[in-house]
């Protein structure tokens, strides 16, 4: 029998970016809120301080800030015909844990999606005809438009103090920014970064080919900044320890730096750490959530009754909570029926590596997570896809994020993997090699999905989430095309050799690619093909809302966090202005 806590208005499952924003927004509306975090508390001071934070082995290699897979992991297979086996060691993606979640260890690359990304199906069919989708793609329109999200993008970017240059101010294209972006009401709150050396080499080459390079919008501060919550951020020191690390300087936007101090100062908002939610409790009809069950630090099973349950954990972990709790109908790829687990997508990464002569010192250890110079000429539908055999695209460019040597020691093809020749090649090429990366979209298919594993369980006895995924043919073609374009630029960057590497099947969970795991609880206009409505409210259990990138119907060629933040503010506004006045379905 579970230990029963006093009922509250809202329970937040997970306290990263989305939980922190909702704690503040709904706390301000006067609701009694409990935020449940499976990990421990952590903060800039005393946890993320130098020099111990500058430890590549502990944080980047041993995954010091990541989900503890010894307790909780995923199973994986490339297709439904295979037996799924557990991801015993994290590799391809790295979900965070502890207070702040992935919002602590992210790089800070902060992108809006294109207006046409929100109409991915309609837009492509209007321009290229209905055959463009082929039999493979299960691409859907979003139930929300860019224009509707614009004020919420703006709000999240000002919360974070993003440094960038507008490319489109209310329809007027601006020099220095991304000319392809949707119109924004005002410029970024802070100026853009200055290019690093490798970025500058990329920019010159891209300009020579007629493209439009610009600096990536950055959550690493480009100057001292006080956000609308009254919280102060400091300029980034360009230390090279962003990705997989916490920032010691108050210089990278995180829930701790940008919002949690305000949220947790409210007497009606309570944080409970070491509270591992195992399921959402539903009534007998499975149309209303009554609270959640969690395991506390002592191992005790605790029931937290609540009027509303909001899933705020890492996107695909939210999908698992829904499947375990029986919220909505699980997706079945054989029939196409069901919604929970549908349209799991990822990101299609590739690169063209440039090897320079030893007189060219790139010094990429002088880096920051979002210090990048890119072009957007081959993203979304920014270029004509006629006759190319695929839809979608990605941005491409050079990031300079730290070049920490356990993981970064490039050698040219043909170099032995060890021994004297390997060693001399590492010494020769370490400071003289950079990569043009392609950040490609991931299109939904009928066969890529999430479900519960039938064999493997976590430390609490709950079934693991099973991931069935391989790169769609569409995305393999797209990656080949993008990598060709990246190689053309790379060859003009003044190096000696260019080595392209595009995405190929089969997808592997072993080498790190990106932690942009999206979809599985997608938003849509039709309850038969989506798990949540346009306000991220469950179609089936209307007092459950589901945050995060699991809501993306498919994943465009950008980093997801800006859109996750914008959707959270969008949903919070609907909860405050509509749901609280008349609890029930917001879309019928």
């Amino acid at each position: 029998m579970a230990w029963r806590m006093k009922p509250v208005d809202v329970v937040l499952v997970g306290m990263g970016w989305t939980g922190a924003i909702l704690a503040k927004e709904l706390g301000e509306a006067g609701l009694r809120i409990v935020g449940l975090e499976r990990g421990v508390s952590q903060d800039t001071v005393p946890d993320w301080q130098s020099p111990s934070m500058h430890d590549e082995l502990r944080y980047a290699v041993r995954h010091g800030m990541m989900q503890e897979v010894s307790r909780e992991t995923y199973t994986f297979r490339n297709g439904a015909g295979q037996e799924a086996l557990p991801i015993r060691k994290l590799g391809s993606f790295l979900p965070g844990t502890d207070l702040g979640g992935a919002g602590v260890h992210w790089n800070g690359q902060t992108w809006r999606f294109l207006p046409s990304d929100f109409r991915a199906r309609s837009h492509n069919i209007e321009r290229y005809g209905k055959d463009i989708m082929g039999a493979e793609l299960a691409v859907q329109d979003w139930p929300v438009s860019y224009d509707e999200l614009e004020p919420h993008y703006d709000r999240y970017e000002y919360l974070c103090g993003i440094g960038g240059k507008a490319g489109n101010l209310r329809g007027a294209i601006q020099p220095g920014g991304n000319p392809y972006e949707g119109p924004r009401a005002r410029d970024y709150p802070n100026p853009p970064t200055e290019p690093a050396y490798a970025g500058a080499l990329f920019a010159n080459a891209a300009l020579a080919l007629g493209y439009t390079p610009f600096q990536v919008p950055s959550a690493n501060m480009t100057r001292a900044y006080t956000n609308p919550e009254g919280l102060a951020l400091q300029p980034c020191n360009v230390c090279g320890y962003c990705e997989r690390f916490g920032c010691e300087h108050f210089a990278k936007s995180s829930p701790q730096v940008c919002i949690l101090p305000k949220a947790l100062a409210m007497p009606n908002v309570e944080l409970r750490t070491r509270a591992h939610v195992t399921r959402v409790l539903l009534d007998a009809q499975r149309t209303r959530a009554t609270g959640v069950i969690y395991i506390d630090a002592s191992g005790r099973e605790v029931e937290q009754p609540a009027e509303m349950v909001i899933l705020c954990s890492f996107g695909i972990n939210n999908v698992r909570h829904m499947l375990v709790s029986g919220i909505g109908q699980p997706y079945d790829p054989a029939t196409g029926d069901g919604t929970v687990g549908r349209n799991y997508t990822y990101q299609t990464m590739s690169s063209a590596t440039v090897f320079y002569g030893s007189d060219r010192r790139l010094n990429q250890f002088m880096g920051a997570g979002a210090l990048g110079t890119v072009i957007d000429d081959f993203n979304g539908d920014n270029f004509d896809h006629s006759g190319l055999g695929f839809i979608g695209g990605g941005y491409m460019g050079v990031y300079t994020t730290g070049a920490r040597p356990i993981e970064f020691h490039p050698v040219p093809p043909g170099t032995p993997r060890w021994g004297a020749q390997w060693k001399s090649a590492v010494a020769r090429h370490y400071n003289h090699t950079c990569s043009v990366g392609c950040h490609g979209a991931s299109m939904a298919t009928r066969g890529n999905y999430l479900s519960l594993d039938t064999t493997y369980r976590d430390a609490f006895g709950v079934p693991l989430l099973r991931m069935t995924f391989d790169f769609p043919e569409n995305d393999v073609r797209m990656s080949a095309y993008l990598t060709d374009r990246a190689s053309e630029i790379a060859r003009l960057m003044g190096g000696q050799t260019v080595v392209p590497s595009s995405a190929k099947r089969p997808y592997s969970v072993v080498p790190y690619q990106t932690t942009h795991n999206t979809g599985g609880a997608i938003m849509g206009a039709d309850p038969r093909t989506s798990a949540v409505n346009r306000y991220l409210q469950s179609w089936d259990v209307p007092n459950v809302f589901v945050m995060g990138a699991c809501a993306f119907p498919q994943n465009p060629g950008y980093n997801p966090t800006d859109t996750v933040g914008a959707l959270t503010y969008w949903s919070a506004e609907a909860i405050k202005n509509q749901y609280l006045k008349a609890p029930g379905p917001l879309v019928r």
Binding site: S50, R88, V238, G240, T400
Partner: protein, 242 residues
């Protein structure tokens, strides 16, 4: 600091140690010795995980993976065996970053590691088998460098069965741990004298480049800094060379 100036410094330190018989000074010299000068700390590094037979293999093997050259020490002098030993004796060795629950099945390459062995168990199991299989009159560390390389290539290719699993799994773990030990912060026992960092020009835990990173192509030759010697201050002024 150049190799030459370091040797000069060590020469002085060695004289002090020999003359005064103060162990601390001698130990300092041994800890910071460049290739060729230190033998003592590697013959008795006080291993916590490896037994003497295991240590003999690992010391010889890592030195083939990253051998000494005229300019830079190899993995042995850089303390990589000590690094791996300490890792295996701790949480990593116990498998705290792994999901090890059963059932255990052979998966595809794309599904990654599927054994029930923690890293410590993987080393112990593999080294026991290797000790048996390489017993052709000479153990691994007694063979010539070329013979050792040939044996490592067989491990790499998965030619040996180490107890129901391919030797390639052990080899890849050993190779990854060797690279880790060559480049991880010296606080972990490897990368001795920051040799790995010096070799590539990585500044280590030193981290304040806001005023430098826009000086494209500059020569940055500041002494690398390990966590344990970090003062907590961030020097932001540096001489810019071209």
């Amino acid at each position: 600091m150049t190799d030459l100036s370091r040797r000069t410094l060590l020469k002085g330190a060695g004289v002090v140690g020999a003359a005064s018989t103060v162990p601390a000074a001698a130990q300092h010299a041994a800890d910071h010795a460049p290739p060729g000068l230190h033998t003592r700390q590697n013959t008795n590094p006080n291993y916590r995980f490896f037994n003497a037979v295991e240590a003999a293999f690992v010391e010889a093997a890592v030195e083939r993976l990253i051998p000494a050259d005229p300019q830079w020490p190899g993995a042995l002098a850089a303390g990589v065996p000590v690094f791996i030993d300490r890792q295996l004796a701790g949480p990593y060795g116990r498998g705290e970053t792994l999901y090890l629950a059963g059932p255990w099945k052979q998966g595809t390459t794309e599904q990654g590691y599927q054994l029930r062995l923690s890293p410590a168990e993987l080393y112990r199991t593999s080294l026991e088998r290797i000790g048996q299989s390489s017993n052709e009159g000479k153990t691994f560390h007694q063979r010539s460098g070329d013979e050792q390389d040939a044996f490592l290539r067989r491990l790499e290719a998965g030619d040996l069965d180490l107890g129901g699993f391919s030797s390639a799994i052990f080899f890849e773990t050993l190779l990854a741990n060797t690279v880790e030990g060559f480049f991880a912060d010296p606080a972990y026992g490897g990368n001795r004298d920051k040799a790995g960092w010096r070799m590539v020009g990585f500044p280590g835990a030193y981290a304040a480049f806001l005023q430098l990173y826009t000086h494209h192509g500059m020569t940055f030759d500041r002494e690398p800094l390990g966590m344990d010697e970090h003062t907590g201050a961030h020097p932001v002024v540096h001489t810019i060379g071209r």
